[in-house]
C-alpha cells in the first residue's frame, strides 16, 4: 500500500510540475525561458515513462528530445530573434479564443475519459528489459514487428534533413550559374549578411 501511496504522490507531484512548466512554455514572454520550460516538461515526461515501466523510452526522450530537439530550438531562437527581447503579447481576442479552444478541448476530452471504461488489462508482467523488447520489435520481420516503419522513418529523417538544408541554405553555391533558376545576385544582397546578430531583429521586431 505504501508503494502505491508513493506512486500516487509522485504522480501528482510530477503532473503538477509538468503542467506548470507546460503553461510556462506557452506563456513565457522570453522565448529562451520558454525553451527551458519545455526542456523541463520533456524531462518530467521521461520521469513519467520511468513510472510507466518504459525506462528505455525515458532514455530516448532525454537523449533525443532534450539533447537534440531542444538544442535545435534554442539555436533557432538565437537565429531568429534576440535573446533578451520580449515577445509581443498576443491580441486579447486571440488569447480568449485560444483559451476557449483549449478549455473546450480539455473539457470534452476529460468528459469522454470520465465516462469511458478503458478496461485495464489483467496485470501481466512487463517485459524485463524494455530496451531489448523494443529493439526486437523494431527488427522483427514477422507479423508483430515494426521493420517497415523503421525503414520509413529513416527515409523521413533523411528527407527532412535534405529538405531542411535546401530551404535554409543561404545562397546558391558560386558554381551555380544564373540560368539554373538560382537566386539573383540582387536578391542575395537583399538579405543583410549579419542579420542574426543584430540585437534589433527578432520576432518582436517592432
Amino acid at each position: 500500500m505504501s508503494e502505491g501511496a508513493v506512486e500516487t504522490i509522485l504522480f501528482y507531484a510530477i503532473a503538477a510540475m509538468s503542467l506548470f512548466f507546460a503553461i510556462a512554455t506557452v506563456t513565457a514572454r522570453r522565448l529562451l525561458r520558454a525553451a527551458v520550460a519545455l526542456m523541463f516538461v520533456l524531462v518530467l515526461s521521461a520521469g513519467f515513462y520511468v513510472m510507466l515501466a518504459a525506462e528505455f523510452l525515458a532514455g530516448v526522450q532525454v537523449l533525443v528530445y532534450v539533447g537534440g530537439i531542444v538544442v535545435v530550438i534554442v539555436f533557432v531562437i538565437m537565429l531568429t530573434s534576440s535573446v533578451d527581447l520580449l515577445e509581443e503579447r498576443p491580441p486579447l481576442l486571440r488569447k480568449a479564443l485560444g483559451a476557449l479552444a483549449a478549455i473546450g478541448f480539455f473539457g470534452t476530452t476529460a468528459a469522454v475519459y470520465l465516462t469511458t471504461d478503458f478496461g485495464a488489462a489483467a496485470d501481466a508482467a512487463p517485459p524485463a528489459e524494455s530496451a531489448r523488447a523494443i529493439g526486437a520489435a523494431l527488427l522483427d520481420y514477422g507479423p508483430h514487428g515494426y521493420v517497415v516503419p523503421f525503414e520509413v522513418i529513416s527515409l523521413l529523417l533523411l528527407a527532412a534533413l535534405v529538405g531542411g538544408i535546401a530551404v535554409a541554405r543561404r545562397s546558391p553555391p558560386p558554381s551555380q550559374p544564373l540560368t539554373s533558376g538560382g537566386d539573383l545576385p540582387g536578391e542575395v544582397s537583399f538579405t543583410p549578411p549579419k542579420r542574426q546578430n543584430d540585437p534589433e531583429g527578432g520576432a518582436s521586431h517592432a
Binding site: 486571440r94 485560444g98 479552444a101 473546450g104 478541448f105 470534452t108 469522454v112
Partner: protein, 668 residues
C-alpha cells in the same frame, strides 16, 4: 447483333450515320478547314448536313416501309454499343432508337439545319469568324441529332448538355459584344440550372429502375425483344416507359410526402425540359439569346434546340401520363407560357424579340397539347408533334426572313423599316406565307396543326385551355401582322429602309423552299404517321374548332390592320383638304381613338407592359439575385481566410469539437 437486326435494311442498321456525318464534318472543318481554308468550310459543312438529311430521309423511308402508315409504329433499336458499365447487369449504351417521333425529329432537324447552313453561307459572307461559325453549327447539329436518337436517358442527358454547350458558343459568337457574352452566359446558366433538376430526375429514375430491374426487367425484355436489337438495360427508354415499371414507381410505398416518386421524378425531368424549351419561369434566356447571329436564332432558338424539351416530354410521355399529376403540371406551365409570351410579344419593337416571344408562345402550345393528351386519348400527343413539325418550318422561315431584312437594313427595330414589300419582293412573299401560317390561316400548315391542338384540348375536356388557346391564336395573328405591316407595308421610316435590296440567291433559295414547306406541310396525314398508345387516325377538320380558331385569327389580323396600316399624318392632311368629309373622317378618327384608347392605354399600359416589366425585372431579377447571393456568400466566406494562421487553427480545433459533439449527440 441479333438476327432481328441483321434482317433490317442497311440504312436502318446504319442510322448512326445521320449523327456521325455531322460529327466527322465538325472535326474536319474545325481542325483542318477553319485554320487553313475557311472559305470552303461553309460549303463542306453544308454538304455534310445535306448528306445527313439524305440519310435521315432514307431512314424515314425505310422505317415507314417496314411499318406502313396507319399501322402500329414500334420503337426499334437497330444499333447500340456499350458505353458505361457500372457493374455487371447495369450497363449504359450509346445507340440509335427509331420510332415515329425520333424519325420525325431527324427529318426536321436535318432539313432545317441544311437550309440554315445554306443560308448562312450568304448571311455570314465576309465575317472574320466564318470557319468558326460553321464549326459550331456542325457541332450543334451533331449534338441535336445525338439527342434525338438517344435510346436511353443517360445518352439523352449527355447530348442535352452538349447541345447546351454549342448553343452557348453560338449565342456568344459575337464575343466582342458584351451583351452577347452576357446573353450566352445567361442562357447557359439558366439551362444548366434546369438541367440540375433533370439530372436528379435521371438519378431517381435510374436508381429505382435499376433496383426494380431484377423483378420487372425480364418481363419487359421478353415483351420488347421482338422489337429491339440489344439487351434491355435499366436506363433504356423502352424500359423506363413500360407500365410495369411505372406501376412500381408510382406505388404508395415509395411516395414522399404524399406525392408519388414517379411524379417527383417526372416533374424534375420536366424542369430540365422547361429549361431547354424556355417555359415560364425558365424562359428568360431565350429572348436574350437573340444576340447570336440570325441563322443561329432560326436554327437553335426557333426550330430545333428549343423543341428538345417538348421532345423529351414526348419521349417520356407514358411516364408523364402514368403519373397524371406531372402531366397536369406540363399542361398548366405550357398554357400559361403560351399566353404570357403572346401578350409580351405584342409590345416588342425588336423584330427578333417579337419572334422570340412568339417562339415561346408556340412552344407553350406544344407543351399544353402534350398536357391534354393521355395514353388512351393520344390526339394531343399527335397534335403537339404535328405543330412541332409545321412550326419548325414557318418559324425558321420567319427568322431567316427577318435575317434577310436585318441584313438589308442593318437594324433590328421595326420602326426603322417599312415599305420593304417593293425592295425585297421574295423576302416579302415568303415572310407573308410564314406569317399567314403562324396566324393559322387556311390552307397553310399552321392552320392544321393549331386546329388539331385546339380540338384535342376541347375533346380532352379542357375548355379553359381551349379558350386560352383561342385567345393566344388571336394574339399571335395580331402581333405577327403588326410586324408584317410595319416592316413591309406603309412607307419607309428610315433611310436604311429606302436603300434596302433583295438578298442574294443562297439566302432566298432556302426561304423559298421553307415557304413551300410551310405552305404544304399541313396536308401531311400526320395522324397515320405519328401516334402513341391507341392509334389515332387523321380526324379531318372539325368545324366546331376550325371556325372559332379562324375567327380569332381573322380578328387579330383585322385589329392589326386597323391599328398599324395607313398613316396618321396622311389622314389628317386628307381631312384638312377635303373639308366636307371632315365629319366622316373625324368619326373614323373617334373609332381609331377608341381603339387606341382601349388597346394602348388599357391593354398595353395596364396589362402587357406590366407583364413585360415583371418579366424583365422580377423573373430576371430572381436569377440575378441568386447570382448576387452566391457571390456575396463567396465574399463572406472568403473573408474568413484572412491570412492569420492562428485563426485557421481556431477553426480547426472548433471543427474537431463540433465533430465530436455531433457524433456524441447522435449516438446518445
Amino acid at each position: 447483333m441479333s438476327g432481328a437486326v441483321a434482317a433490317l435494311p442497311f440504312i436502318l442498321r446504319n442510322a448512326w450515320l445521320v449523327a456521325a456525318i455531322p460529327f466527322v464534318s465538325f472535326v474536319f472543318v474545325g481542325l483542318v478547314l477553319r485554320p487553313k481554308v475557311p472559305r470552303i468550310a461553309g460549303v463542306v459543312a453544308t454538304l455534310s448536313i445535306f448528306a445527313a438529311a439524305g440519310v435521315a430521309g432514307g431512314v424515314a423511308w425505310e422505317y415507314y416501309h417496314l411499318f406502313p402508315p396507319g399501322a402500329l409504329h414500334p420503337a426499334i433499336v437497330p444499333f447500340a454499343f456499350e458505353w458505361l458499365r457500372f457493374m455487371p447487369g447495369l450497363t449504359v449504351t450509346m445507340g440509335v432508337l427509331l420510332d415515329p417521333i425520333s424519325v420525325l425529329l431527324l427529318l426536321v432537324v436535318t432539313s432545317v439545319s441544311a437550309l440554315v447552313h445554306l443560308y448562312s453561307i450568304g448571311y455570314m459572307h465576309g465575317d472574320p469568324g466564318f470557319g468558326r461559325f460553321f464549326t459550331f453549327l456542325n457541332l450543334f447539329t451533331f449534338s441535336m441529332l445525338g439527342l434525338v436518337i438517344a435510346p436511353n436517358i443517360l445518352q439523352i442527358y449527355v447530348f442535352w448538355e452538349l447541345v447546351g454547350v454549342s448553343s452557348f458558343l453560338l449565342i456568344g459568337y459575337y464575343y466582342e459584344k458584351p451583351s452577347a457574352v452576357a446573353a450566352s452566359k445567361k442562357a447557359f446558366i439558366v439551362t444548366r440550372f434546369a438541367d440540375l433538376g433533370f439530372l436528379i430526375g435521371v438519378l431517381i429514375l435510374g436508381y429505382n429502375g435499376y433496383t426494380a430491374f431484377g423483378d420487372v426487367g425480364p418481363t419487359v425484355a421478353r415483351e420488347v425483344t421482338g422489337r429491339i436489337a440489344t439487351d434491355l438495360q435499366p436506363f433504356d427508354f423502352l424500359y423506363l416507359t413500360h407500365p410495369d415499371l411505372l406501376g412500381r414507381l408510382a406505388a404508395p410505398a415509395l411516395a414522399v410526402g404524399g406525392v408519388s416518386l414517379l411524379t417527383i421524378a417526372m416533374i424534375l425531368v420536366f424542369m430540365g425540359a422547361a429549361g431547354k424549351s424556355a417555359m415560364f419561369p425558365l424562359h428568360i434566356w431565350l429572348p436574350d439569346a437573340m444576340e447570336g447571329p440570325t441563322p443561329v436564332s432560326a436554327l437553335i432558338h426557333a426550330a430545333t434546340m428549343v423543341v428538345a424539351g417538348v421532345y423529351l416530354v414526348a419521349r417520356l410521355f407514358p411516364a408523364f401520363a402514368f403519373s397524371g399529376d406531372a402531366l397536369t403540371v406540363v399542361m398548366c406551365v405550357g398554357a400559361f407560357t403560351s399566353l404570357f409570351a403572346a401578350v409580351i410579344g405584342c409590345t416588342q419593337d425588336d423584330i427578333k424579340r417579337v419572334l422570340a416571344f412568339s417562339t415561346l408562345s408556340q412552344l407553350g402550345y406544344m407543351m399544353f397539347a402534350l398536357g391534354v393528351a393521355a395514353m388512351d386519348r393520344p390526339a394531343g400527343y399527335t397534335a403537339s408533334m404535328f405543330h412541332l413539325f409545321t412550326h419548325a418550318f414557318f418559324k425558321a422561315l420567319l427568322f431567316l426572313g427577318a435575317g434577310a431584312v436585318i441584313h438589308a437594313v442593318h437594324t433590328n427595330s421595326i420602326w426603322e423599316m417599312g415599305a420593304l414589300r417593293r425592295k425585297m419582293p421574295i423576302t416579302h412573299l415568303t415572310f407573308l406565307v410564314a406569317t399567314l401560317a403562324i396566324a393559322g390561316v387556311w390552307p397553310l400548315s399552321g392552320f392544321f396543326s393549331k386546329d388539331e391542338i385546339l380540338a384535342a384540348a376541347l375533346r380532352g375536356g379542357h375548355p379553359v385551355v381551349f379558350g386560352l388557346g383561342l385567345l393566344v391564336a388571336a394574339l399571335t395573328a395580331f402581333y405577327m401582322f403588326r410586324i408584317y405591316i410595319v416592316v413591309f407595308l406603309g412607307r419607309a421610316r428610315h433611310e436604311h429602309a429606302e436603300h434596302a435590296h433583295e438578298a442574294p440567291f443562297v439566302m432566298w433559295a432556302p426561304l423559298a423552299l421553307l415557304a413551300l414547306l410551310s405552305a404544304v406541310a399541313g396536308f401531311v396525314p400526320f395522324g397515320s404517321f405519328v401516334g402513341i398508345g391507341a392509334e389515332a387516325g387523321h380526324e379531318g377538320i372539325d368545324l366546331a374548332v376550325a371556325i372559332p380558331a379562324s375567327t380569332a385569327g381573322v380578328l387579330g389580323i383585322g385589329l392589326a390592320f386597323l391599328l398599324y396600316s395607313g398613316d396618321g399624318a396622311r389622314a389628317t392632311a386628307g381631312a384638312n383638304a377635303l373639308g366636307g368629309a371632315y365629319r366622316v373622317v373625324k368619326r373614323k378618327f373617334y373609332v381609331d381613338e377608341l381603339y387606341l384608347f382601349v388597346t394602348h392605354r388599357i391593354i398595353f399600359r395596364h396589362i402587357s407592359r406590366p407583364i413585360a416589366w415583371f418579366d424583365r425585372h422580377a423573373v430576371d431579377g430572381m436569377v440575378n439575385l441568386s447570382g448576387w447571393t452566391t457571390r456575396r456568400t463567396g465574399s463572406l466566406l472568403g473573408a474568413l481566410h484572412g491570412g492569420r494562421v492562428q485563426a485557421y487553427g481556431v477553426w480547426l480545433v472548433g471543427g474537431t469539437l463540433f465533430l465530436l459533439l455531433v457524433l456524441w449527440s447522435a449516438a446518445f
